[in-house]
Each structure stands twice: as structure tokens, then as C-alpha cells.
């Protein structure tokens, strides 16, 4: 059974055993507007919890993408680099950003559940 959690930086993370898939939330895409550029971490590189692991740009501005958990990048989603508008269309499924082999499962503990995140997103965007 996979576990899905959310960060205050508006990333979602889905954990299957030691493999985590990370992307940005639908709420994040609504705040950003039309996404026209995506940059992803290098395959094989290591990323640290809360560190920068990519960039998305709308017509208006650039925003960093952070990783909610530490690990080694084992895969990246070329589809969103080739067509960044896919991130607006399907942010929480097919338009994932990168996959990690995680180091420390306990880093998941500080992240939010779906209900907690929805409440957080509503409060911070009001």
C-alpha cells in the first residue's frame, strides 16, 4: 500500500517501499497559472530534504521545486520537460517530477496528510 503526503511547499510525495514519487499539487498549479518551463534534477544525483530539486516557470515568474524527502534521483519525467502544460492538466498523476530511492523513511513523519494539506492550502491562500 502506498502512502501519500504533502509538504508546506506544495509538493506531494507517494511512497512505495523505498521508492518515492514527487510532484507539485493541483493547488500549486492553480497559484502558478500556465506553466511554460520545467527543470528537473539530474538522474543519479542526491537531493536533501527541503533542498531545491527543480524549477517551474509560469509566464509570470519562476518558482523553485523542493524535495520533501532526501534520496537519490532514480528517474525523472521527460514528458513535463517536453510539454510543461501537462503539469497544469494532470499535476497529481501523470505529471510527476522525479522519483527517489529514499534514505530515511522517518522524514515522512513531519509531512501533512491530505486532509491537513487541504486545510493548510485553504488557510494560506485566503
Amino acid at each position: 500500500m502506498s502512502e501519500v503526503k504533502y509538504s508546506k511547499e506544495h509538493e506531494w510525495i507517494k511512497l512505495d517501499g523505498e521508492e518515492a514519487t514527487i510532484g507539485i499539487t493541483k493547488h500549486a498549479t492553480e497559484m502558478l497559472g500556465d506553466i511554460v518551463f520545467a527543470e528537473l534534477p539530474e538522474k543519479g544525483s542526491n537531493v536533501d530534504k527541503d533542498g531545491t530539486a527543480g524549477v517551474v516557470e509560469s509566464t509570470k515568474a519562476a518558482s523553485d521545486v523542493y524535495t520533501p524527502i532526501s534520496g537519490e534521483v532514480i528517474d525523472t519525467n521527460q514528458m513535463i520537460v517536453d510539454d510543461p502544460s501537462k503539469i497544469n492538466e494532470d499535476p497529481e498523476e501523470s505529471a510527476w517530477f522525479f522519483k527517489l530511492k529514499i534514505k530515511d523513511k522517518s522524514e515522512m513523519d513531519s509531512l501533512m496528510s491530505k486532509e491537513e494539506y487541504e486545510k493548510f492550502a485553504k488557510e494560506t491562500s485566503a
Binding site: 497559472g33 500556465d34 511554460v36 518551463f37 524549477v55 509566464t59 509570470k60 515568474a61 519562476a62 502544460s85
Partner: protein, 368 residues
């Protein structure tokens, strides 16, 4: 100071605008469709822009007004025919641009359209340079609506018949609901279009009737991507107090007949006309999909800094990142290879011709 609202504020909310503060006004950055759809709708159909935050300065009274305005602006105002418009500048003594503006000759004087963030200062500067001798009114009882795009003429003609006969950079008086409106054929998108000056109390119904005839409200976000594709400058980004019209590559807006005459900043401009300038505004096309925004540093192939980006975005119609900025004059030739520093990496790019998107204005008798 509390935030100001234009007469279309309720309409913005009704059509789902995301509102932001811009130059002291609450303005729509985008509506429900989003910037890219709004941009494309303007290019393929027509878009309505609330530009009521801009200043509408009316000057009149006195035979010497034209002469005295020529001491301020480097435009050929004596040759301007009634209802004809010219793009010009309010400059400081160093030839730097305090504002870029459109001057239209009206039946009894001149109408000057000023940028929102500059308008109150411009008003004081212009009044003082005219020694308060003339009637002047920065009229805030009027709204300003731009209608832009290939369908603009058809849409507007249904609401205000006859306006499709206007030539580019010309205006005239029309009637809407028994009230006078002043319409010019001009704009800021690279498309054919109009700017309609209308009483605040009529603005909302007027815009609703444009919407009923197939047009859509467009926010400031798409206004910015449209003007960048058209290679047009945004005051505060691409033009400022330390930049002259020559450096901004806007030499075309200074008529030859005025170069030898006196106006604010004329000595500096005359010098620059003769000896050239050190920096020049250019178009920039990155090789890759990376977007270089304002303030991105520009380097040559020897890693020496040669300039700075002043505007940059993704161009929805050209489907590629676009930018403009200032480079050392020796790097301003089209196809010169340059490098943009984005997030610590040097991104290759080329100097290119402006505009990025080809203009589609209705040509008229624009040269006097």
C-alpha cells in the same frame, strides 16, 4: 493611501479576475482562462483591456501651446493634424526617459496618455514646464478601454458604428448612449486595435456590449506577453530615467526635423545622434527553453559582462522564450552569440530582430 479601483472593478470580479495591485490600482492580472488562452484569444479574435489606470491629460487654451509643448517633447507637434497621434517621451535634462506617452492633437489642444505609475509626477512636471499658463486636466472621470485583435474592428463597429474607418494612430469623436467618446486606433499588443476614452459611468455597459459581441476581458499578464512579442517597451522595465530614446532603439520616434531644435534633453540626444551610444536595446532569443527574466546578466563568449535583460517571458504565440535588454553597442548586431546567466548557468542565446511577432496594424497615412 488606499488602493484605487477602476470603474470596471465589479466587472473584473464578475468575470473571475485574479486581482493584484499595480501602480496603486487594483487590477486584473488574469481571468479564468489564464494568461496563455487570453493571449491567444487576443491574437486570433479580440481582447478587452481595462487601462483606466493610465493618465488622460487634456491640455488646451492658448495659441502658443504647440510651441511650448515642443520645448518639452521631441515630437513634430506643429505638423500634427487634428486627431493624429504620435509616440513620444517626457525626458529629463540628461536625455533619460521619465515616461513614454502618446500625444494626440484634439480640436482645442492635446490629449496625452501617460503611464499609470508616472502620471501624477508627469502632470506636475508638464504643468510646471508650461508655467501653469494653459488649461490642464488629468481627467479621472474617464475610463480607458483598449480593444485589440483582428476582430476588434468588427466588434467595435457593432457597438459604435463607423469607427472602422479610423486609420492607425488617428482618432475621432463618436457617440455612445448619447455621450461623447473619443476613440483612437492604437494599442500595445502588435495587433490592430482601438483605445476608447469613455465616461466612467458608461464603461461597464460598454464593455458588456463588447463581450456580447464576441470579445473577452484580458488581464495585465497577457498584456505583458503580448507587448513583449510585439517588441514594445514597458516603462520601468525597458525604459527609465537613465536610458535615452536613442539607447532604447526608439530613434524612429524622434523626427529629423526636431534634432537641431531645443527641447528637454535635446543636447544629449543631438550628441548621441552624432557620436552613437554605448548601450543599445536589442531583442534576445535563448537557444533553449530557459526563460531569462528582467535583471538577468548578459555575457560575451569571453565571460565578460556586456549587459542586462530588462524583460523576458515565454511567448505564447511564438512558442519560445523571448527577451529584450541592453547590451554594449558592439554586441548589438543581429545573430551575435551571447550568454544569459540563469540560476548560475550560462545559457546560450542570440541577438535577434524585434518584434518577435509580426505586426498586423491597419496602415494609414501615418507619415506627415
Amino acid at each position: 493611501m488606499s488602493i484605487k479601483k477602476t470603474s470596471l472593478n465589479n466587472l473584473h470580479i464578475k468575470y473571475g479576475a485574479k486581482l493584484v495591485e499595480f501602480a496603486g490600482y487594483q487590477m486584473p492580472i488574469q481571468y479564468k482562462d489564464g494568461i496563455i488562452q487570453e493571449h491567444k484569444y487576443t491574437r486570433s479574435h479580440s481582447g478587452i483591456f481595462d487601462v483606466s489606470h493610465m493618465g488622460q491629460l487634456f491640455l488646451s487654451g492658448g495659441d502658443d501651446l504647440t510651441n511650448d509643448l515642443e520645448k518639452i517633447f521631441p515630437a513634430d507637434l506643429k505638423k500634427l493634424k487634428t486627431n493624429q497621434s504620435k509616440y513620444s517621451f517626457l525626458m529629463n535634462n540628461k536625455g533619460g526617459i521619465q515616461d513614454d506617452l502618446i500625444i494626440t492633437k484634439t480640436s482645442d489642444g492635446f490629449l496625452i496618455i501617460l503611464n499609470a505609475a508616472c502620471k501624477y509626477n508627469d502632470y506636475e512636471v508638464i504643468k510646471s514646464k508650461l508655467h501653469n499658463q494653459y488649461k490642464s486636466n488629468l481627467d479621472e472621470s474617464l475610463s480607458l478601454i483598449a480593444l485589440q485583435g483582428p476582430e476588434a474592428k468588427n466588434v467595435l463597429n457593432k457597438v459604435i458604428p463607423g469607427c472602422d474607418s479610423l486609420k492607425f494612430m488617428n482618432g475621432n469623436n463618436y457617440v455612445y448612449k448619447n455621450e461623447k467618446v473619443y476613440i483612437t486606433r492604437s494599442g500595445y499588443t502588435g495587433e490592430d486595435g482601438f483605445e476608447i476614452s469613455i465616461k466612467n459611468s458608461d464603461a461597464e455597459t460598454f464593455v458588456e456590449s463588447l463581450i456580447e459581441n464576441g470579445s473577452k476581458l484580458i488581464g495585465l499578464g497577457a498584456r505583458d506577453t503580448l507587448r513583449m512579442e510585439a517588441g514594445l517597451c514597458l516603462y520601468g522595465n525597458d525604459l527609465d530615467n537613465d536610458t535615452s530614446p536613442i539607447e532604447a532603439n526608439l530613434k524612429w520616434a524622434i523626427p529629423k526635423s526636431r534634432i537641431e531644435t531645443e527641447f528637454v534633453g535635446s543636447e544629449v540626444l543631438k550628441n548621441q545622434f552624432q557620436s552613437g551610444v554605448k548601450k543599445l536595446r536589442v531583442g534576445i532569443k535563448p537557444d533553449s527553453k530557459v526563460i531569462a527574466r528582467g535583471n538577468t546578466k548578459i555575457y560575451n563568449d569571453k565571460n565578460q559582462e556586456i549587459g542586462k535583460v530588462t524583460s523576458g517571458t515565454f511567448g505564447p504565440s511564438v512558442e519560445h522564450p523571448i527577451a529584450m535588454g541592453y547590451v554594449d553597442n558592439s554586441y548589438s548586431t543581429v545573430n551575435t552569440k551571447i550568454f544569459l546567466e540563469v540560476r548560475g548557468k550560462k545559457i546560450p542565446a542570440n541577438i535577434c530582430n524585434l518584434p518577435f511577432y509580426k505586426k498586423n496594424y491597419v496602415k494609414g497615412e501615418i507619415n506627415v
